[in-house]
């Protein structure tokens, strides 16, 4: 039985990683024809070309800019919203939470086209065109619910009396927020912000409908899949994958260290 379950796990992980291995291997392929399934020797040339490809670098720049703006704005708006929602009465609170859930239950493509309808008309009215601004608005919108859902539980876990105690002891409301509430909910805020950032970086569907002619990395990749994807993109995603892997390892190792320290403290009388 034990062997059987190990074999089972192995095949599922093989299934999950086979395409990724293919991507990484072919980022080192020394081909001239951009062939995607013929191996013709090891080389770093796609990595070299990647950094001199103006279009890819521009798309990457746009993607990062949008993700940073979307993460920061949605974190600020969403944290304020979570605090406000917590002090709403029952019915308005339900209404607001239902609106919050809407973008999460709706198929992404419907969210995308609905915003496209609005933006196309709005853009005509103020005489500009779809672009980085409309993508940012769209990304902030679909990131907001995730921020709220990660901050709100921290707020409800917090002892409500703490805030009032701080006021009784002479803090102004703003001080009480910064020195008492904020430290309690900061883990939720950070989680929300990281989620917003990664969702934004990886988003294709909503960007596709709200971008006009502006290129983000996923949109650029999509336009290439219709012809042939240049192995430069394989190189770029191998690099991104490696960065994520290293970051996750660091986070995991730190967590393990913390856990060990907690265990040690518990063991000591």
């Amino acid at each position: 039985m034990k062997v059987l379950s190990k074999v089972y796990c192995f095949f599922i992980y093989l299934f999950l990683y086979a395409p990724i291995v293919v991507l990484i291997v072919f980022s080192f392929n020394d081909s001239t024809t951009m062939s995607r399934s013929v191996w013709s020797g090891f080389s770093f040339k796609w990595y070299g070309q990647l950094f001199s490809d103006r279009l890819i670098m521009q798309a990457l720049g746009n993607t990062i800019l949008i993700a940073v703006v979307a993460a920061v704005v949605s974190t600020i708006l969403g944290t304020a919203a979570a605090i406000g929602i917590n002090s709403l009465k029952r019915w308005p609170r339900r209404l607001v939470m239902n609106i919050t859930n809407l973008p999460m239950v709706n198929p992404e493509i419907v969210t995308g086209v609905s915003m496209m309808l609005l933006f196309v008309i709005a853009v005509r009215a103020i005489n500009t065109s779809l672009g980085i601004g409309s993508i940012m608005i769209a990304h902030i919108t679909f990131c907001l619910p995730y921020v709220i859902l990660s901050v709100k539980p921290k707020l409800s876990q917090m002892d409500q009396n703490l805030y009032e105690a701080a006021l009784d002891l002479g803090y102004r409301p703003s001080q009480a927020f910064l020195k008492v509430v904020f430290p309690e909910i900061i883990p939720g805020i950070v989680t929300g912000m990281i989620m917003a950032f990664t969702l934004s970086i990886d988003d294709f569907i909503i960007s596709y409908f709200t971008s006009g002619t502006t290129q983000t990395l996923p949109i650029y990749i999509y336009s290439m899949t219709r012809k042939r994807i240049s192995p430069e993109i394989n190189a770029l995603s191998t690099l991104l994958f490696a960065i994520v892997l290293v970051l996750l390892l660091i986070v995991n190792l730190r967590k393990e260290k913390e856990n060990k320290e907690i265990l040690h403290e518990e063991e000591e009388p």
Partner: protein, 272 residues
């Protein structure tokens, strides 16, 4: 803390960019090009009923496969030691960090007529298979992309499960199979339900997987919508009508699923 005002900017934002766009979809679905009220768009959706059926069918198959493959894995992960558990969960999440267009593209490399899998088949003397541009390839793409969405919620329910309940069942004489069928499985229903919705909704509404792996023959609802808004068949009114039908369809599916969830929960409540 009395700070209702803090959520006003958020509410304004969501009304502007979520509620208004949704109302515009409804408005476009019920009007023609010059803005007159009409049912023509919604009636026009009828001629695509085969596309709707295909999407639901392929989405449902993919969801069932994800559940059948994902549940045992989630169960196995939840049963291993804590240290390797973390690594295994991380390895499930890691692929999601690679752009999903690229991962789907990699499947094209594997499945195409002269692709890696067919080269392998040839090397061991098997006949070549037509794999790309089939409905099977589309289902494979769906399963591949959404399997983690099935595994993770089931896993998180299974780890939170109180092991004393299982021990109690064993003490009361249940054998392994009974413990699984009568305790573990019912208690993991909420995880299964969120897994099923998290796989089914994106699978039904996808348009990239079908485009990349299905060729032209496996058109899905998502492709239809894409064609009406950014494609050759430009007609936002019809596109809005299709989106509206898709939305209602998914709401109905989720309503049915949630009903199921509530029933289980009240049973659990009775037990306590």
């Amino acid at each position: 803390m009395k700070s209702k005002k803090a959520c006003y900017p958020y509410v304004v934002w969501m009304v502007l960019f979520v509620v208004v766009p949704m109302l515009m979809v409804v408005f476009f679905a019920f009007t023609d090009k010059s803005g007159n009220f009409t049912f023509q768009n919604l009636l026009g959706v009828g001629q695509y009923s085969n596309v709707f059926l295909r999407s639901i069918w392929l989405g449902a198959i993919a969801t069932v496969i994800c559940l059948v493959l994902g549940f045992p894995l989630a169960y196995l992960i939840a049963r291993t030691g804590r240290k390797s558990q973390n690594v295994m969960v991380m390895l499930i999440m890691l692929p999601m960090w690679m752009n999903f267009l690229l991962r789907t593209y990699a499947w094209m490399t594997l499945l195409e007529d002269n692709g890696i899998l067919n080269q392998l088949f040839e090397a061991v003397g098997l006949p070549k298979l037509q794999m790309i541009n089939t409905a099977g390839a589309v289902v494979l793409g769906m399963v591949y992309n959404y399997l983690p969405f099935m595994i993770l919620p089931i896993y998180s329910i299974l780890t939170k499960m109180d092991s004393s309940v299982i021990e109690a069942a064993q003490d009361l004489g249940a054998d392994k199979r009974q413990v699984f069928l009568k305790v573990t499985l019912p208690m993991s229903t909420p995880g299964i339900i969120s897994g099923v919705t998290m796989v089914f909704v994106p699978a039904v509404s996808t348009f990239i997987i079908s485009k990349m792996l299905g060729g032209g023959a496996n058109l899905l609802i998502g492709d239809l919508i894409d064609m009406q808004f950014l494609g050759s068949a430009y007609n936002p009114n019809l596109g809005s009508a299709i989106s509206l039908v898709l939305m209602v369809l998914i709401l109905i599916c989720m309503g049915i699923m949630n009903q199921f969830d509530d029933g289980e929960e009240s049973n659990g409540g009775l037990m306590i």
